[in-house]
Amino acid sequence: MSLLDQIPVVVESGSVVPEADPHPQGYGNAEPVLHEVRHALARLISTGETTKIDLKAMPFGPGDLEHLLSVLGTGEVQASIDALGPTRVQETAIPGVWLVDYLNSEAHRLALHLEIATVPEILCPQPQDLNDAIAALDARLNPDQSDPPLAS
C-alpha cells in the first residue's frame, strides 16, 4: 500500500449536499432540461414524435444531474441490453420519459440520454434484423437443409 491514502483529503464545494438529501440542489441548470422534457412529452402526446436529449452535452455543474434525476424519479420498468457492453434502460416516474445509459465493456459511460417515447429505440429490434428473422428461424427449424426455404 502506498502512503497516499494516509493523506487527509477534504473535498469542498458549495454544491455538495449530504447523500441522504432527497432534494439535491445543483446549479439550477436542470430546470431548463425539465421544461424541455415537458415540451417533448406534449409533442409525443399530440403527434407521436419522439425526442432524445443528450445529457452529456449539457453544461451541468455538480449536483445538476442528480437534481434532474431526483425530480424525474424511478419508474416501474428496467431493462438491460448486452451489446457492445451493457446498456441500462430505466423508466422514470414520469411515464414516457426513459433514462438510457450507454456503457462500454469497461463500464465507461459512452452516452446518457433522456428519451421521451413509448418505447426506447434501443429496445426495439432493428428493421434489418426483422427482415432476416424468418429466414433465421427457418434455418433452425430445418437444420439439415443448407438452403433455408423462402420466407412466406
Partner: protein
Amino acid sequence: MAARKPTEKTLGESLRERGVSRRGFLKFCAATASMMALPPSMAPAIAAALEKAKRPSVIWLSFQECTGCTESLTRSHAPTLEDLILDVISLDYHHTLQAAAGDAAEHAREEAMAANPGEYLVIVDGSIPGPKANPGFSTVAGHSNYAMLMETVENAAAVIAVGSCATFGGLPAANPNPTGAMSVMDLVKNKPVINVSGCPPIPMVITGVIAHYLTFGRLPELDAYNRPMAFYGQSIHDRCYRRPFYDRGLFAKTFDDEGARLGWCLYELGCKGPTTYNACATMRWNDGTSWPVEAGHPCLGCSEPKFWDAGGFYNAVSVPTSASGMNVLAAGVLGAVVGGAVAVSAKKQTKAEVAHRQPVTVEELEAKL
C-alpha cells in the same frame, strides 16, 4: 503496421465480422453522435453512413511537441483508441505508438502514402521549424520536420492539425521563438487544414473530427481559425455551468474565499472563458469526470492563438485596444456573450495590439450588457 488499402471492407462489414449486432452498432452510433456534438436523433443517419464507410489510412506526424496530444488521444473513451484504430481508421504510421522502429517505421509511412494517393489523412501534432530555420532543430529519421511534412501532405486528402503547437505554433513559438516554429496552416496552403486546437485538445474532439470525416465523407464546417464549428462554435463562457453566477454578478475574489467555495464565477481570477472557444464545458475531461472550471480553476484559453504570450493566466480577461481608437472592448464583450465576434476580430490582431492589452473590469463588462 502494414499499410492497407482503404477499400478492403466497410466499417459495417468489419464490425459484423467481429460479432457486433445491429443493436450494438446503433449504440455505437448513439455514442458517436454524442462525440460529434450532434443531436442524438442523428444516430440512425450516422448508422446508415458508417455502415458503408471505408476506413481511411491515417499518417500521424509528431514534430515539436510534448506528446501530450497523443496522451490525450490514448485517453479517448468513446470510442476507445483500440476501437478507433481497429474499426474507424487505419493508423498506418505513428512513431510514438507503433511497434516498428527505424527503417521499418519509415517504410510504413511511405507504403501508406503509395497505397492511398489522394485519400489518406495526415494528422500533425507539434509545430515545425520553418523553411528558413535550421533544419537540425527537429528531425525524424534524419529528415527535417519541414521536409517530412511537405512530402507527406503532397498526396493527402486533408491535414488535421492537432493541438495548439500544430494549429498556432504553441509553446515552441512563444516569444522569442528560438526555433522559428510555425503552424501547419502557415506552411500547407494547397490542402484543406482542419485545426483541432487545445493544449491538449479534448480527446473526443480529435476522434470526433475523424469520425465526422469518415461518416459524412467531407470535412466539418470550420470557423475563422479552421476549427470545427461543432466543437468550437460556442465559448467556454456561453456553456459554463457557473454562468448564472456571472449573470448575477457573483464572483470569487480569491481561490479560497466564500465565493470560490460556493462555486461562483471565476472571471475575476483570470478565467478566459469569455474569449475561448472549445467544448470543455460540455464534453469535459477524463471520461466526462470534470473540467478545469469545475475543478475550481479559471480557463487558461489554451485553444486560442497566442494564449502563451497573452499575459498572465490569473489576470482578468483583457482585450486589445485598437490603433484606430475603436472601442474594441465593446466588440469583445458582445462577442463573449453572443459568440463568434471575438474569434473573428482576434484574428486581425497584430502583435502590437497584443502589447497594448488592458484589463477589463467587471463593472465595464456589466455596463455593456
